[in-house]
């Protein structure tokens, strides 16, 4: 018996004495912790992959001026179809007034990490005989890259947007029969046109975007779209993308503009992620409850088995509180041991399955990395869980009448 106190000494000795039971509850707790570790890793992997693909080339939040509603008067007239066809010219671009102030105000809003001013509109890309309808996005590249990463999407060329330069999607380049360094003409609905040189090709993650997006400098886009000095939207990045909608709501209220989050535009994806989160939370709660019940039931049995020993300890001077602590400590120690073994188990599972489970694009869904913080959290949480699970058995031990226990 070392210099540990009475409670530690007896708790350790009881655990060692019931070697089989101790191994079983530690094993049970370890499986629980391992499963939670594993599904957490899978969940984080799957979701970040999904979110990366969904939000890849798109800002978390886009702030636009309110759309000018087409007067319902037109629809009310008898010869509406004809009027509608007459009116078929593109709607005039709406722009944001006083956008520099608004950008600054947005940037300081809680949750927002970056803001980029964008002038965007429809246009035609023309090269030789080929012409394609495109979306021109004019922006300051450095500012924009803090909102949407482009560096990981560049397949060829450089990320640079001097006046007269453009970054285009790989599909568009193929459609136009253009290669890096080629020039092509952009003609806008406002009948302005300008020639750009292709400085980089981008893979934006979807065929649609690769066929459509043309990034140019802000001024170039402004003159093409005939909105000199003005912009059509603010693209916004947030810290926690699951909170994008709350942040969008706040921006909506404070700016009076039309504010859309990625959650609104990808409602189904968000719902799927949310459902996944709820399901995994449920699994975690159930696993936790099962582990706690396992620890509690083994300790309850242990108290019954050790009735006589508890009685002797009480007779020779151990207080109720001391007996209580002996069993609480056993619960906590089992929890800690279970968390350590379980973390090793979880790491092993992640290691094995990171080779097996891959995303659609072929990259591993999650990577094996030793997260000391996560293991620390597991150890603390598991110790607390063991402690809570031990409350009932420990109280049984403390409430034991020593005279009865000794009589047999």
């Amino acid at each position: 018996m070392g210099t540990l106190g009475f409670e530690w000494t007896v708790a350790l000795r009881f655990l060692r004495e019931g070697r089989m039971q101790t191994a079983l509850i530690i094993g049970g707790a370890a499986v629980g912790v391992g499963v939670i570790y594993f599904i957490t890793a899978v969940l984080v992997g799957v979701q970040s992959d999904l979110i990366r693909r969904v939000t890849g080339a798109q800002a978390h939040i886009v702030l636009k001026p309110p759309e000018e509603t087409v007067a319902p008067l037109v629809a009310a007239t008898a010869d509406a179809p004809r009027l509608a066809s007459v009116q078929a010219r593109p709607q005039r671009l709406t722009t944001i007034d006083g956008w520099t102030t608004l950008a600054r105000q947005t940037e300081t809003t809680e949750g927002v990490v970056a803001v980029a001013a964008v002038a965007t509109g429809a246009a035609l890309a023309i090269k030789g005989n080929a012409s394609r309808s495109i979306v021109v996005l004019g922006t300051d590249l450095n500012q924009y890259m803090r909102v949407v990463r482009l560096d990981d999407k560049l397949t060829q060329g450089v990320l640079r947007l001097e006046p007269g330069e453009a970054l285009i999607g790989v599909e568009l380049a193929r459609d136009l029969g253009a290669v890096l360094g080629d020039r092509f003409r952009v003609q806008s609905a406002e009948n302005a046109s300008q020639v750009f040189q292709i400085r980089g090709l981008l893979d934006l993650g979807s065929r649609e975007l690769n066929r459509r997006n043309v990034y140019v400098d802000l001024r170039g886009a402004q003159s093409l779209l005939n909105i000199p000095g003005r912009i059509t939207n603010l693209d916004i990045a947030v810290g926690d993308i699951m909170r994008a909608e709350q942040i969008a709501a706040r921006l909506r209220a404070q700016s009076g503009q039309l504010v859309e989050s990625w959650i609104q535009t990808n409602n189904q994806v968000f719902a799927a992620i949310n459902n996944q989160n709820i399901m995994t939370l449920l699994i975690r709660v159930f696993v936790t409850v099962v582990v706690a019940l396992g620890i509690a039931s083994v300790l309850v049995v242990s108290v019954v088995q050790k009735r006589k020993e508890i009685g002797i300890l009480r007779a020779i001077g151990a207080t109720r509180a001391q007996m209580l602590r002996v069993f609480l400590l056993q619960g906590a120690m089992v929890g800690i041991a279970g968390a350590l073994v379980g973390s090793a188990l979880g790491l092993a599972l992640v290691g094995i399955f990171s080779r097996v489970l891959r995303s659609a694009s072929g990259t591993p869904l999650f990577t094996l990395h030793f997260d000391a913080n996560l293991i620390g959290i597991f150890v603390i949480a598991s110790a607390l869980l063991g402690l809570i699970a031990a409350v009932l058995p420990a109280r049984n031990a403390a409430d034991l009448d020593p005279a009865q226990a000794i009589r047999g």
């Binding site: 018996m1 070392g2 210099t3 106190g5 009475f6 000494t9 000795r13 009881f14 060692r16 004495e17 006589k308 020993e309 002797i312 300890l313 009480r314 007779a315 020779i316 001077g317 151990a318 207080t319 109720r320 509180a321 001391q322 020593p402 005279a403 000794i406 009589r407 047999g408």
Partner: protein, 255 residues
Amino acid sequence: MTQEGNSADTPLVALAQVRKTYNEGLPNAEEVLHGIDLSVRRGEFAALIGPSGSGKSTLLNILGLLERASGGVYRLGGQDVTGLDDDERTHARHSTLGFIFQFHHLLPAFSALENVMLPALIGRKRAAAQSPAANGIGESASRARAAALLDAVDLHDAYNKKPGELSGGMQQRVAIARSLVLGPQLVLADEPTGNLDTRSSDNIFELLRRFNSEQGTAFIVVTHDPRLAARCDRIIELVDGRIAGDRRNRARTAG
């Protein structure tokens, strides 16, 4: 006649009209001790005899503060302990009483030496809290004292043996060492030789007598063996929950 605080004259144990009813308030309530008056002096060596079911173990448990009396007054070392709460009773047990049971009752997961050290381990923090200077009850001191007691009960070679590896007589000697390790004023022994053969019984009894005379520890020993009762200073006889006889053993007192 007895004055509190006068430790030399105060009886170690004084029971006045102590009653015990089991299942109090229930239809099967049963009074098993009916008004016991008893006084035991310091250093006394008394036998408690009586037929089975007469209440000997019950009386011993009340004296040992393991059970509460249903009525009457119990003074231990001059202090009224009748109304103490569970913690106070536990502390009193720890500081002034020792127990020896019929079925040895050692902790199987601890070695002989560790079993003897347990009472000291239980109270180390308590002792340190009460007087920081009294660190004589530290790890090494209690180990030395436990070892000396095991030597005294002739178990020098069994320090590190687990109870399971020891014979019944040896286990009971470990239990005796444990009951004495904190220097109690009174040791309560409930049929300590109940399931030992005659030779081991004699051996155990000799040890108890020796500690009684060497250390002045008082003993109350429940026994069914008239031969052993005859070797005590005093014989208290319990019949049907009443004291039916209480006599000095002339042979012993004379000797």
